[in-house]
């Protein structure tokens, strides 16, 4: 492998922007899937396609990192951030897949609320990634994302509590929805993890 001495710094920022937009698109798709159960117009394949697209972008970032002598951010930060954005889309894909695996027949309001948080979080994440080049307005996006993540925690507690409010609830339904609520929360948490990494990059580079 050869290191390039001609800096291609702008490409890193473009790739991060694309990765953020891809995560946002995946979150919107997952939101539609959860809101429109049992309508299967938007199938899991559409989400999985975005997950593969995310993998490709991550591979491009790592490939570029391996060929560049000079990078705009610390090498380990670029690697960690690319992996963290990839994880967001992975978790979105996992959560969405459970609709089919568990043969879910109807939506649950709490899951729709979690999807609203997910779309909001990935929107702030995408904005923060877009602003990474000049570090403009990034902190504001990260604060908003953190607030949404706190809201997501409260929704998860309420959602799981609802499953156990009555001892005559179908055990099958408890198993299905507890898994789904936790999978959606994992996706929300992964967006926050990516936000923490961006926060560290901002501190180092400002």
């Amino acid at each position: 492998m050869r290191f390039s001495l001609v800096p291609r710094q702008a490409e890193f920022y473009d790739l991060f922007t694309r990765a953020g937009e891809n995560a946002l698109e995946a979150a919107r798709l997952v939101q539609k899937r959860f809101s429109n159960i049992p309508d299967t117009t938007i199938g899991q394949k559409a989400v999985t396609d975005l997950e593969h697209k995310g993998d490709d972008i991550t591979a491009e970032i790592i490939g570029l990192l391996n060929t560049q002598y000079i990078t705009p951010l610390d090498r380990e930060d670029i690697y960690s951030l690319a992996s963290a954005i990839d994880t967001v889309v992975d978790y979105l894909d996992d959560a969405s897949e459970l609709i089919d695996i568990y043969h879910i027949e109807s939506p649950m309001e709490q899951a729709i609320e979690q999807c609203r948080i997910l779309v909001g979080s990935t929107e702030h994440l995408a904005n923060a990634l877009r602003g990474l080049r000049g570090l403009r307005g990034v902190s504001k996006q990260l604060v908003a994302l953190k607030q949404l993540e706190d809201e997501g925690d409260a929704i998860l507690r309420d959602a799981i509590g609802a499953l156990f409010e009555d001892d005559k609830v179908s055990p099958r339904l408890i198993i299905q929805w507890k898994d789904i609520f936790e999978a959606l929360e994992a996706a929300i948490d992964s967006a926050e993890t990516a936000a923490h990494l961006i926060g560290n990059i901002v501190v180092k580079n400002s």
Partner: protein, 228 residues
Amino acid sequence: MRILVLAEDADRLDSALSAGGCEITVKSHSGEAEHLLLCEQFDVIVFHPRSDDPYFLTRMLRDYPGRALVVWLRSSSSTRVSELLDAGADEVLDGTMDDRELLARVRNAARHGRRPASQTLELGDLRIVSPSGKASWREAPLRLTKRERGVLLALAETVGETVPREVIYRKVWGYSMVRGDRSVDVNVKRLRDKLEDAAELRIRTTPGVGYRLILQVAKPDETPVAIL
């Protein structure tokens, strides 16, 4: 008389009822019993209700309407027995009864407790035959799923009155509804779509509570009038 006993540790029942010439099949696993009930005909189902599943009897009544349902308790109380009879059980047996009494009560349940295997509900031009679930509108078949049919029947029991979502859910799904579950709403939406042509039947939403079925009659050359 063919009897399905759905209980663990059913030796006592088995010996008492077999001695009376009944053909007994004992199953301890509800999945196996469900399979048998689909494939074979039984006159009486004797089962031991699980304490953690209070809607078991409701589901049995819903799913097996043509059979006498007899509850077997190892020990009982007047409160428990009256609850079970009020909930629809045809007979309640307990461990203090001797073999002759057990047999006599099961025979009595088989004679008197058998419900009609088929009931037809007619609302205007809508016709639903249960338990087969065949539904038709002006004799044209309507393709309703088991859940949709259940929701429609739950609403049809009290035409014109609001039925809370939780009550519909309990009747159709046989469990308590979880807060936030949209199952009833989804099935009502599908029903509305499928009953679009049935102008005299409308499912109205009572916000925050549930749904009610409205039946309208139309005289020739008149606007339909809600009668229920």
